[in-house]
Each structure stands twice: as structure tokens, then as C-alpha cells.
């Protein structure tokens, strides 16, 4: 599966859904220990209990090098990993509302 900005993916182990903001190469993207699925795919898998810290709607998730960035568009119990590194939330810079 080729990752590209705008691609929507869902978790195989929980309700989580994400959208790719910044894409990186490779298949190493997982939620709850299982590969993320494209919208049309229908598969259920058992979660890896060590990968279940949750992900929260509206939060942006990045790896340390910020080569990959996901927007969580539906919360779930699984946590997001890329190439076995757990993704961290990235803060949107607080700006005053301008419109």
C-alpha cells in the first residue's frame, strides 16, 4: 500500500481511523499492533495488548523525525506505530482565532 496525503485508513483492531497528512515510504504503519487498512478492506484482527494506549480524534501523530504525520479522525483504543516506533502527538501552535 502506498501512503499519500489525504489517504484514509482504519484500524483492524478498534474503531480508530486516521488520515495521512505527510507520507513516508513503507508498510510499517500499525494500530494496536496490526497493519492499518484501507477503507474498503474488511478484516478484524486481535490486538497486541502492549499497543493499546489509544488515539484521540483531532490529534496529529508524528514519529520523532517527523517524516510521517497522521491526523486521527476517529478515536480508538489502539495506538499508532510506524516501523515499531510509537507515534507521538504533535501540538498545533495555539493561534488566536482570526475568522
Amino acid at each position: 500500500m502506498e501512503l499519500k496525503p489525504g489517504l484514509r485508513l482504519r484500524s483492524a483492531v478498534c474503531d480508530a481511523e486516521v488520515m495521512v497528512i505527510k507520507a513516508a515510504a513503507g508498510d510499517g504503519l500499525t494500530c494496536g499492533g496490526e497493519s492499518l487498512l484501507e477503507q474498503a478492506q474488511d478484516a478484524k484482527a486481535a490486538a497486541n495488548p502492549e499497543h493499546m494506549h489509544g488515539c484521540v480524534i483531532g490529534k496529529r501523530y508524528v514519529n520523532e523525525a517527523e517524516t510521517i504525520e497522521l491526523l486521527c479522525i476517529k478515536s480508538g483504543e489502539g495506538s499508532l506505530y510506524y516501523n515499531s516506533d510509537e507515534l507521538m502527538t504533535k501540538d498545533t501552535k495555539k493561534l488566536p482565532s482570526s475568522d
Binding site: I57, L71, K74, T92, S98, D99
Partner: protein, 497 residues
């Protein structure tokens, strides 16, 4: 990547929160999302290639915007104040169209190519339609919004904003569900203005309730603020001037605005005395100045609340003058000032403002205005100081070239705005045998002001150089603005020909 995702997320995270209030009617995020889904079905099965709203603000505006986005059809809001001829020309450019209008006007458009529906008929049809989920069209490069520019300088251009531009803008500047449940934003800019559109998107993403005011009137704005416990608002400078006037003239007590936390303004030049007065009359309110263009998906620079409060009473004049600045670039935006040959200028050197960033479209249906490396020449003139604060001096086309010397109208206007006898003023270029161009001044005096052309000339000569003294001064009742608060210099020029 589709702007409708913002509404889908809001409906997922807080379905029961109130999303929209219009004349006492409320929509929750779940209801708004459902209506947008149904609208997407209707638009998609109509075979129309455009969705257009030719109407004041109403629930039909966000529903059509989001429904059209889901269906992958460009949304084209039209200015209801245009003449029949002007509207006919624009409608000719968007065929076939699903057109939503005031119910009383539907009959007038019965012969257009496509489908016409009254606003209320449209909203009722959605209420009656079965609940159906619509699968969003996922194409980041699809056109989300086609917005005709105001055409102050010629035939309106069709600016294109793609989903990727708008999504970049919102994700980069708004925190999802960043608003508390009691927050509400008063939207009084017309729906065909980029500020009106970005207000809808950013409020939905922040999950901040939108309170719509269809036709701006200062007293009604103030009453609605108080009645709906409004916390945020965006106004154009002419609106701010009128709001301040109502408070100053004791038609409305500022005490009744206790809920108000923040006012953002933009869309035109804010006269310094007006913002100073506003800061004085509403000490608890945070003010933000936003500068942006249709072609940049709205805001690219911000002067925040702290900058305002720091500037207004500062002893250092360089900091005090920041009140006249439009602030600093958003984190994802780069700005350069360039001369007429495209060379980058230094701090404090005035030239044309160039903008670059993922939210910048810079594209019209007719041509792409982006130049090398994605820079967009805005045609706005200004300069930047060493701290990154941007100062506007008008449109690049408004610069008066007198005997080879570039004179920004703002130079002269700013000096005169400080005079207590002057309520409004504009400097424009007129043809001159001797200088190529000369300065003409249109002045609106305050009641009982005893200024003459001679005293105004003397004032300019004492504060600036003699080359800034106008050739001719007209005293007028008021200056012409369009409804978005933009000064119509072309009309003023015609007074002198």
C-alpha cells in the same frame, strides 16, 4: 483530504453540541452533518457541475458548502448585491448550476441552465429526505470553492481554492474541538466573502457554535452579541467603526457585551483611531488583526491580542506603531517583499508582498498567477520590519508615481487620520502634465470641523514632504466602500476626471 471531513469529525466528537444558530433555529453537529449528507445526494444526482448560493447567510450556506464538498462539486457563492447584468454574466460562467436563492426570487432565475430552488424549499426537502450516508469524493486537488473576486479593477476573476489548500489552512491554524461548549462566534460577513467561508470551516473544526447575522447593522450586531452570549466575532473595519459609534453615542452599553472574549478584524485598512477607541471601550476583549486574500485561503498574517495591548500604551514609538501592522506570518507561511523587478528587498523597504505556503492557491480559472517556486505576487504593497511585522501600504496598483517618486496613499492618509477634524480620507493618483501623476485627496470632515484645503495642505507639508501635498482636494459626504469594506479608489479617481 476533503473539507467535509471537518464536519464529519465534529459530528463524531460532539454530535449533540449546537453547531449553528440562525434566527432562533439551532442545528447540532449531528443534524448539520446529516443535512450535508442529504444535500450531497441531491447535488450529485442533479448532474449539475456547480453548486451556488446567491443569498444572505442561512443554514443553507454551511450545508451547501459541505454537501458540495462531499459530492466533489465546486461551491460558488455569489454576491446578491450585484446588478442583474453582473449576475447574469457570472451565472453564464457556471453552467449547469444547482442554484439556491431567496425563496421570493426563485422565479426570476427559472430560465437558467440547471436547477433553481428557494432556500426554505431546499432546507425542507432535506428534512424530508431519508437519512443516507454519502461517500465523500476523496481528491485533494479537486476544486472545493470557486470565488469570483470583487472586480474592483475589472472583470471578476474566478479564484480556485482546492481541498488541499483549505485543509492545510484549517489544520495549520485551528485546534480541533479547541472551543469550549459555551463559545459562540458571530458571523456577519457575507457568505460570498472568503472571511465568511473560512469562518464556517474554522468554527466547525474548533466546534465553536456559529451565530449567523444575515444583514449587518451595528445595533442588531450588538443586540445579537448580548442575546446569544457571543464570545468571538470577525468584522471588517467599516463594521467596527459603526459598532464603536453606537457604543460611543450611548445607544448600547458596553457592559452588555460581557460574554465577548475576542474580536478579529480584517478585509481592509483599519483606521488607527478606530482600533484605539475599540481597545479603550472594550478593555476585556482580545483583538486580532488578520491579513489575507481569497487566493491565499484567507489569513496569512496575524497581529495578536498581546501585540495590540503592548502597542497601544507603549512609550517606544516603534512598538506603538505596531498597531498599524497586520502582524507576523502564520507558521506555515513565508513572506517576501520584492521590487518591480522581482528582487527581494530589505527590512523597511516598501515593495510588493509575495506569499508562499501550502494554503496558497494563487490560481484563477483563467490563469495560474503563481510564479517560480510557488510564490504568489499579491499586488498588495507593504514592508516588513526587522521583527517580521508586516505593514500594508495599499494595493501595488494604488501607488502614486509623482515625478518618478513612489508615494503610497497610506503615507498621506495615515497622517490625516490623526487629525480630529477628519473622519475619512483617501489619496489617489490623477494624471498630471508636469509630474506624470499627481495626488488628489477626497476628504470627509467631521461635523463642525473647520479645516480648509489650505490648512490640510499646511498639515501635510509640516509632517511630510512638499511632494506629498495634493494638487486638488475634494470635500465629500462619504467615501465609497464595497460591502466587504474595501475602499473603491477607482470610483474616487473618477471624481477628479
Amino acid at each position: 483530504m476533503n473539507i467535509a471531513l471537518f464536519l464529519q469529525m465534529a459530528a463524531e466528537a460532539c454530535p449533540d453540541r449546537v453547531a449553528l444558530t440562525h434566527e432562533g433555529i439551532h442545528y447540532s453537529y449531528a443534524a448539520l452533518y446529516e443535512a450535508a449528507n442529504k444535500a450531497a445526494h441531491r447535488f450529485s444526482s442533479s448532474d449539475c457541475e456547480f453548486v451556488s448560493v446567491l443569498d444572505v447567510s442561512s443554514p443553507a450556506v454551511p450545508i451547501s458548502l459541505m454537501g458540495a464538498a462531499m459530492a466533489g462539486i465546486p461551491y460558488v457563492p455569489l454576491n446578491y448585491r450585484l446588478s442583474e447584468q453582473q449576475l447574469g454574466d457570472l451565472l453564464d460562467r457556471i453552467k449547469p448550476v444547482f442554484l439556491i436563492v431567496d425563496d421570493f426570487k426563485a422565479a426570476e432565475f427559472s430560465d437558467i441552465e440547471g436547477l433553481v430552488e428557494g432556500r426554505q424549499t431546499f432546507l425542507t426537502s432535506l428534512e424530508l429526505a431519508p437519512v443516507e450516508h454519502f461517500s465523500c469524493i476523496e481528491d485533494p486537488s479537486a476544486v472545493a470553492i470557486q470565488l469570483f473576486t470583487s472586480g474592483t479593477t475589472g472583470t471578476p476573476k474566478a479564484a480556485l481554492l482546492r481541498h488541499e489548500h483549505l485543509v492545510s489552512y484549517i489544520l495549520g491554524s485551528v485546534e480541533f474541538m479547541g472551543a469550549a461548549e459555551e463559545q459562540a462566534t458571530l458571523v456577519s460577513v457575507p457568505p460570498y466573502h472568503i472571511a465568511g467561508i473560512s469562518a464556517v470551516m474554522s468554527s466547525i473544526y474548533a466546534c465553536r457554535r456559529i451565530v449567523q447575522l444575515s444583514n449587518f447593522q451595528a445595533l442588531e450586531w450588538l443586540n445579537l452579541c448580548s442575546h446569544e452570549q457571543v464570545t468571538n466575532a470577525f468584522v471588517v473595519p467599516t463594521m467596527m467603526t459603526r459598532i464603536i459609534d453606537e457604543i460611543e453615542n450611548n445607544n448600547f452599553s458596553a457592559d452588555a457585551l460581557g460574554s465577548l472574549i475576542a474580536i478579529a478584524y480584517g478585509g481592509g485598512k483599519m483606521p488607527l483611531p478606530v482600533i484605539e477607541q475599540a481597545l479603550d471601550l472594550l478593555p476585556a476583549v482580545s483583538f486580532t488583526n488578520a491579513y489575507g486574500l481569497t487566493e491565499t485561503s484567507s489569513t496569512v498574517t496575524l497581529l495578536g491580542p498581546d501585540d495590540h495591548r503592548e502597542a497601544v500604551n507603549h512609550d517606544d514609538s516603534s512598538i506603538r506603531s505596531r498597531l498599524a501592522s497586520v502582524g507576523k506570518a502564520l507558521p506555515s507561511i513565508e513572506i517576501e517583499i520584492r521590487d518591480e523587478h522581482g528582487r527581494k528587498l530589505e527590512h523597511h523597504e516598501a515593495g510588493e508582498i509575495y506569499v508562499r505556503g501550502p494554503q496558497v492557491s494563487g490560481e484563477y480559472l483563467e490563469r495560474n498567477a503563481l510564479i517560480e517556486d510557488g510564490w504568489f505576487p499579491t499586488r498588495d504593497a507593504g514592508y516588513m520590519d526587522e521583527h517580521g511585522y508586516l505593514y500594508l501600504s495599499g494595493r501595488a496598483d494604488d501607488v502614486i508615481v509623482r515625478g518618478g517618486e513612489n508615494i503610497s496613499p497610506a503615507e498621506i492618509e495615515d497622517i490625516l487620520f490623526l487629525n480630529s477634524g477628519i473622519s475619512d480620507v483617501a489619496a489617489v493618483a490623477i494624471p498630471s502634465q508636469q509630474w506624470g501623476e499627481a495626488i488628489a485627496l477626497a476628504v470627509v470632515l467631521k461635523p463642525k470641523a473647520d479645516l480648509t484645503a489650505e490648512s490640510i495642505n499646511a498639515l501635510i507639508r509640516s509632517k511630510l514632504r512638499s511632494s506629498r501635498v495634493p494638487e486638488v482636494i475634494h470635500f465629500v459626504e462619504e467615501l465609497p466602500y464595497n460591502e466587504a469594506g474595501k475602499l473603491l479608489r477607482r470610483v474616487i479617481k473618477s471624481w477628479f476626471s
